[in-house]
Symmetry: C2
């Protein structure tokens, strides 16, 4: 199909498609004339994936490039795959080592084997706790323990669900599950808060 049809089928504008082509997110079509190229179903599928990562997934173009590189050229083991997916989203560890060590020791006290955790993830936890503290909101060990326990419940179920019969399926699950499930988790938390708040404090109903 021509680029105009690709745009019509995908709902992505021609300028956006051209931008994805230039940034390497979408591979070039087969050239049929000096100013014309032919696209196929693979382009359409990839375009939907790019939109999902950049849109609901909330990733930057640079993050999307790294995620798509991980999909196209995945490491051998499922655990390494998770590391690549997390690194694609988080980037390299660049936090303050003292803050990272402080967070590590809090997590270890709560029973986590922090030698298994990417330093970039520890930095992200430290950054989130510092943001809360800066806002006048120190998180107690008890409150943190609640979030740790919830994270373990979610993550164990997710890792248990990694398919091992198909590499392709495992890659999609791990790489995309990391990013695309995040907005779902946050939206469901807000919804559940509204229900819990209505139960505790009363409050208006929205029209169905």
């Amino acid at each position: 199909m021509r680029i105009s049809q690709l745009a019509a089928e995908s709902g992505v504008s021609i300028p956006s498609i051209k931008y994805y082509l230039r940034s390497g997110l979408l591979r070039d079509g087969a050239r049929t004339a000096a100013t014309q190229a032919e696209y196929d179903e693979d382009h359409l599928a990839r375009l939907r994936l790019i939109r999902a990562i950049l849109g609901p997934g909330g990733a930057s173009v640079a993050q999307a490039q790294r995620l798509i590189a991980a999909l196209d050229d995945p490491p051998a083991g499922a655990h390494e795959l998770l590391g690549v997916a997390h690194a694609a989203v988080a980037g390299a560890a660049q936090g303050d080592p003292a803050a990272r060590e402080e967070v590590s020791s809090r997590l270890r006290r709560a029973g986590w084997d922090t030698t298994r955790v990417d330093p970039a993830v520890l930095d992200a936890v430290a950054s989130a706790l510092r943001g809360l503290a800066d806002a006048g909101f120190e998180m107690t060990d008890d409150a943190l323990a609640g979030y740790l326990s919830d994270a373990e419940t979610t993550a164990r179920r997710e890792i248990e669900g990694v398919p091992t019969d198909s590499t392709e399926a495992a890659i999609r699950y791990v790489v995309l599950g990391t990013v695309l499930v995040e907005p779902l988790i946050l939206a469901l938390r807000r919804g559940a808060q509204e229900i819990a708040s209505a139960e505790r404090f009363g409050g208006r109903r929205f029209s169905t």
Copy 2:
């Protein structure tokens, strides 16, 4: 203090402070001369809050303006407060009504009272599920039920913890807890995934 000292104490650059002043996130200092103003501890505290919301909180300037407006001029009840905080982050509902209704009926089947949930939150759930589907990743009812149950556990504990003895404390908890806890939840999920993945698949240790 002068703006230069405010910058030194807060670690925020003078151009950024001037930008926050122009955008109304930070109120003006007391003018002491044509080109000089005096700032105080309140400015410093507000600056830390702005940085937390824009940095780890990941909010846009427009979202930060709405969150800070909610802090400065809060509604009377705790439940309304949550609504204002969520609206500040999510914006108005503008999703496809058919997709919203489909998501509502999935959530109702799982036992949620969706009349209590802001339509903008339902739209966010629908958008996340559509992103997953576009990436070739249909979420089954079973998988969704897991995330719903985790969200309920987190949200019930959070709403149970809303302080009711101090309005100021309740406002900070609800408005900032909505936004600033999000990066913590996502970072902890990644850490917990890495630990669970190392347990299931084996895998390298990071140096402590």
